[in-house]
Symmetry: C2
């Protein structure tokens, strides 16, 4: 961990004066104080985390910040999606104000995507914008939610409908932290890793097919997979920071996936986000084949890989009863704007050849789902 | 009100791609539909307003939007500063989502500064940023709060500590609407008008000394005074959108003012913001004279004018008992960062010659207040 021989990989996110680095590697929690102090001189901090993550890593982070001279106040919330709501937003906001932090001080998110989205939103609104550090501890957060500046909470009207774009000053992805993540959560995050291959990197997908066991086991393949994922997301974000255009490609598998999450009432015992995305990606590939846009062989290959790592690939794989195709279409229509009976969907011409398909007929999607 | 002969004045706010116009004049509520439809084609809207303002102007605005083909949902909150908090933020946010508005639709703030700050914050966070239209109906909102993109709410830790910068697409200041404003609220807003003269426009201050009665009565002098104020604020905002530098000049009178608002517990029956600013400006000029920075004659002139329009100019003018000077200094210290016993203050070298004074000794301010 000496500064001379950092074992970590740096992925830059290029956003003009809002540019920042993602550091990926082992031991970064212990190194956090040094990395933060170097970038935000004299800053104090609030650490937002959840009970699970606090149990594993809060002491180590407090220690590291203390050695670097950073006074920090921990703010611990309950784990789970319920903490991404107005009630917890107000509590965390008040805790940051109670610590008398100023704009130049930092909110540190130590946890999964729930913590990153919540803490980032708080950092975006306290004093109209404070410094923000992401320390993602779930695989999903390391490869997806901690990069790009989208923050927010859920409401009764849907997920992530309220928030701000607020870029962090630094992302520290400690890959050792993933060792305490449950296998199910690791797999769920892996669905998003595979997604980057399926969007536009067929070689990366092929590499994952060959190396996924090492990625799950840890070591340099894991770091590589996370770095490639972050690079892919960073490139999209740099092109389209506020999601007006091709950032939509990142939604591969997500239209079907969100409908399934709604259909299961966001009950994580039945389905977590990455699992929904896995099924959604399998469906998007099968639907693309069904529409004669891609070969059925590609759909089969995608399914085979997701299955191999233990992810679900079909609606029937979800425990409990599910609504009929018509109802799923209602959820899809709620999620997306339906213009004159047509939908915008991320479809594909093959592995690593995803594209934004406008005007996908509603009836074609319904027919496909009815055929399942 | 025909488009050929607009009776209104246009003040542009130059912020690159976030630039917008402020239209100032009579009849703009009736004209709102047309002006909004022209700028935001196909948009729908939510109108956020308070009970007082709704009683006077909501029907007229709904009518105008309807004629222009803009479907609008009203969201009415209680009048007063209490509506600028998390509870109402959540209610209004949910109402906007319930209306199924998208990013390209608009939140319209119809009301005073409370409504503008609240609705602007909602517009800034729903779907991470929707279109926003300011329709300020108080003098304070027309000359100050509706311009510049600062939005937010209060918390137990202080006023305006939580919010976002979110610029409107258009500001429509209907000067007729001021006719139903209470004389006390009009006077309070006038304190901010006078402030622009005192900051850096001595001729404007002199013009106000000569023409204030016409400004209060309405007509072209009122429009002129509002336009000059908006131009002044727009220029400062264009130089310093995110308040990192000389936007601080706009705080003339506000350091003392905020301390007095805190001391009176934000009880508007005792003191409203503009009155606090009036006393604060008088104190800032007297303190500048006390520090031999400006002539006592200038302080006397400022006081005489504020008194003439009916504004309070001294702490003793506030009804009820007030804490001693030492306690007021505590409030000032809470509001401002106190670095090594020194404060940053807006002081002056004379009428229209305000400047940012760093390192004002705490003890000098205390001594001055004790001498009151
Ligand atoms: N902002 C974005 O761009 C973006 C992108 C994708 C997803 N998201 C959001 O991310 C959230 C999902 O993220 P998530 O899957 O990380 O959920 P999460 O934060 O709920 O974490 C999942 C579970 O793992 C636990 N955990 C996290 N790290 C751990 C560790 N190292 N050891 C042991 N336990 C650990 C958590 O306590 C939690 O119980 C969703 O709310 C989603 O909307 C946001
Ligand atoms: N965002 C900024 O840059 C900024 C700048 C200055 C002040 N502010 C904020 O503005 C707020 C004060 O604004 P305000 O003085 O307009 O307060 P306000 O919105 O409470 O309005 C004052 C009163 O006048 C009533 N009212 C408004 N227009 C009326 C009309 N045309 N006819 C009859 N009644 C009318 C309101 O119902 C209210 O009772 C404070 O919260 C302050 O923090 C913000
Ligand atoms: Zn996802
Ligand atoms: Zn003011």
């Amino acid at each position: 961990m000496s500064p001379e021989s950092p074992e970590f990989t740096t992925v830059p996110v290029s956003l003009g004066e809002r540019s920042y680095d993602i550091l990926i590697g082992p031991g970064l929690i212990a190194r956090a104080g040094e990395e933060i102090a170097r970038r935000l001189k004299g800053a104090r901090a609030a650490i937002v985390t959840d009970e699970n993550v606090a149990g594993h890593y809060l002491d180590a982070l407090m220690e590291s910040l203390k050695s670097a001279g950073i006074a920090a106040t921990p703010v611990i919330v309950a784990p789970g999606e319920k903490s991404k709501g107005f009630a917890t937003l107000e509590i965390v906001t008040n805790a940051v104000l109670a610590a008398r932090l100023e704009r130049g001080d930092a909110v540190i998110a130590l946890g999964g995507g729930v913590i990153g989205d919540l803490a980032g939103f708080v950092a975006g609104i306290v004093r109209r914008g404070m410094n923000f550090i992401q320390m993602p501890t779930s695989l999903l957060a390391q490869v997806d939610s901690s990069v790009g500046g989208k923050t927010g909470i859920n409401t009764a009207y849907g997920k992530n409908l309220v928030g701000v774009f607020h870029q962090p000053q630094l992302v520290l992805a400690d890959t050792d932290a993933l060792d305490t993540l449950s296998p199910r959560e690791f797999r769920a995050g892996y669905a998003e890793v595979a997604k980057y291959g399926l969007i536009d990197q067929p070689e990366f997908f092929a590499w994952l097919e060959a190396n996924w066991k090492q990625v799950f086991a840890g070591g340099s393949e894991r770091i590589d997979a996370i770095a490639i994922s972050c690079r892919a997301k960073a490139a999209v974000v740099a092109r389209d920071e506020r999601e007006n255009g091709d950032r939509a490609l990142l939604n591969l598998g997500h239209t079907f996936g969100h409908a399934l999450e709604t259909a299961t009432g966001y009950d994580s015992s039945r389905l977590v986000h990455g699992e929904a995305v896995s099924i959604g990606m399998a469906l998007a590939h099968r639907f693309s084949a069904h529409m004669n846009l891609a070969s059925p062989d590609d759909a089969a290959r995608v399914e085979a890989h997701l299955k191999a790592v233990g992810l679900p690939v079909s609606i029937s794989g979800i425990p409990g009863s599910l609504p009929p195709a018509e109802k799923l279409m209602d959820y899809i229509a709620q999620d997306k704007k339906v213009a004159r009976g047509a939908l915008t969907f991320i479809l594909t011409q093959g592995i690593g050849q995803a594209f934004i398909a406008k005007d996908v007929p509603f009836s074609a999607v319904l027919g496909f789902l009815q055929g399942k």
